[in-house]
């Protein structure tokens, strides 16, 4: 039975790939329960600096999650940056995707190309070209330049994602609303927005994760502002506390929860809004 065998090999292969994808995540979570260090010859515990080797099981990193306030601050700063980025890029990107999906107009191909281009450039090129701009315009790097750089690549993500999600909607509903006397704002807030909301929310979540996670572009454009990834990059030279893994695990859990919730509510609603 040839097909049996090939399908069995396929299953095993897939399981191995999934394990490969899963292993480091397991390590991240596991090492949030690590207390790096070693047992001294006198029986005492000598704390270590690097969360690379298993010392002993401990809940310390969780209970003392705020042991390194600068790490916490950097994390919160990253969250704030990500929220700002989501806000700006979602507005810009959603408007663009509405234009691209709803209307037929000259120059659409060029706009589409312009939107795709940032996704075809390595981050190091995007980051370095922005830096060149900031340097030549004499803008000092900081929070603002970080937000600018993140929005730059997030707009493309938002637009392409939202575009894909809202394709095939029944835009005649808008006309109907207008015919019934609703003004432009009412039409937008009562008809268009509910229609596109699930797609936009999914794109916003993606953008949030992208911004929170970004290292390369941020590294080049952050000046002395430390985002969470940059703080890890700097701090790792002299120590890697398990609190880093605690934050990593929390982000993971929150994202999983949001995505699960989105999956259950968003899909159903969207399906009911599609034509046919």
């Amino acid at each position: 039975m040839k097909t049996r065998w090939s399908s069995r090999i396929l299953s095993i292969w897939s399981a191995l790939v999934v394990a490969y994808l899963f292993a480091p995540i397991l390590i991240v979570v596991l090492f949030s329960f690590n207390e790096p260090g070693r047992l001294r010859s006198d029986g005492g515990w000598q704390p270590g600096r690097y969360n690379y080797k298993w010392g002993r099981f401990s809940l310390k990193a969780w209970t003392e999650w705020n042991r390194y306030p600068e790490l916490t601050e950097a994390f919160l700063r990253s969250v704030k940056i990500a929220l700002g980025v989501v806000l700006i890029s979602t507005v810009l990107g959603t408007l663009m995707s509405l234009a691209l999906v709803k209307y037929h107009f000259k120059g659409k191909g060029i706009v589409n190309m312009l939107l795709v281009l940032p996704l075809t450039m390595p981050e190091i090129v995007l980051g370095f070209s922005l830096l060149t701009l900031f340097v030549s315009a004499n803008v000092s790097r900081g929070l603002l330049t970080i937000v600018i750089s993140h929005v730059m690549f997030c707009v493309s993500y938002i637009t392409t994602t939202v575009k894909a999600r809202i394709r095939g909607f029944d835009w005649r509903l808008e006309e109907a609303a207008a015919d019934l006397g609703a003004n432009a704002w009412r039409t937008f807030s009562r008809v268009t927005l509910p229609l596109i909301a699930p797609g936009v929310a999914a794109a916003a979540l993606l953008t949030f994760a992208l911004s929170l996670d970004d290292f390369i572009i941020t590294y080049l454009n952050s000046g002395r502002v430390e985002t969470f990834p940059i703080k890890i990059w700097i701090t790792k030279r002299s120590s890697i506390p398990p609190q880093i893994n605690v934050f990593g695990t929390v982000v993971l859990l929150v994202c999983v929860a949001l995505a699960t919730a989105g999956l259950f509510t968003g899909r159903r609603k969207e399906a009911s809004l599609k034509r046919r």
Partner: protein, 285 residues
């Protein structure tokens, strides 16, 4: 990311706007942002690469960093090929065989994105370091010599690039496989096609757009990365990104670094066009 939704022409939509300026008002803010912070910086970068020395900056880029440029593209290429070998069967399995496990498996593929990039790369360091579990296991099996290391080798960097960008390969392929009308597959055996023929004649061609998108989404970030080479590589694993990231602040290096970035960008664009030709795919997203 949206490879799956392309191909479908946007039919039924594409209303003629009541006024020609309506779409441009919607596009305006985003377009301005992209022009000022994407197009214009690239122009600046191009200009900067010609400062003090003109085109000789480009020749010195190749003479000074030739090895690194070649290495970067080899790494990205190998990582992409491996991602295809690992990712295609997984995507195929999820789309065709997974049944009720589909959603869960898809979630597993996306999961790495939810762990901060730096943290998940550091996790590889935990796994791979000299006294770590993987090195220990490989030594035990004899695949690694007793004083052999995994960290600071080509394998470590390529493996981590592969890991970090594998989901970008799996998802587009999955989307394009998932779109295939399953009735086609049922029809194939009726027409006396065996399993392999069904795959090569029906499934594979229909999934090529996904393969195309996936390869690019793996190759592009791999070629511009420096985190994996910095954390898991050593002196002989440096990539273009490492050169730029160590020198980006040094003013006297800036023209050459700009030229290097430009070279990276042009090589990638060239590669994309070539690849599109070969696969005959016209659209990207």
């Amino acid at each position: 990311m949206t490879a799956g939704s392309k191909g479908l022409k946007e039919k039924g939509e594409g209303l003629q706007p009541s006024k020609a300026w309506v779409p441009w008002v919607l596009l305006g803010p985003g377009l301005i942002w992209l022009f000022v912070f994407f197009v214009f910086p690239l122009v600046e970068l191009g200009r900067g690469s010609l400062k003090d020395g003109g085109f000789s900056n480009y020749s010195s880029v190749f003479s000074d960093n030739g090895t690194v440029i070649v290495r970067t593209f080899i790494y990205a290429f190998v990582a992409t090929v491996l991602a295809l070998l690992l990712g295609y069967p997984l995507a195929y399995f999820i789309s065709m065989k997974a049944g009720k496990w589909k959603t869960l498996l898809l979630a597993t593929v996306v999961l790495p994105f939810f762990v901060t990039y730096l943290i998940r790369t550091l996790a590889w360091k935990i796994l791979l370091f000299d006294e770590g579990p993987v090195a220990g296991f490989l030594r035990w099996t004899g695949l690694l010599s007793s004083d052999g290391t995994i960290l600071n080798t080509h394998a470590a960097v390529i493996g981590a690039l592969l890991y970090n960008f594998l989901p970008f390969m799996v998802l587009p392929i999955y989307v394009s496989l998932d779109k295939i009308d399953k009735r086609l597959l049922e029809a194939a055996p009726d027409l006396y096609a065996n399993g392999r023929q069904t795959f090569t004649k029906v499934v594979l061609p229909l999934s090529l757009p996904g393969v195309f998108a996936g390869s690019l989404l793996t190759f592009i970030p791999s070629s511009g990365d420096f985190v994996n080479a910095e954390l898991l590589g050593g002196d002989r694993q440096r990539m273009i990104g490492n050169i730029i990231s160590t020198n980006f602040l040094r003013e006297n290096f800036r023209p050459e670094m700009s030229a290097l970035s430009f070279v990276l960008m042009l090589l990638i664009l060239g590669g994309v066009l070539l690849y599109a030709r070969i696969l005959g795919t016209e659209e990207l997203a």
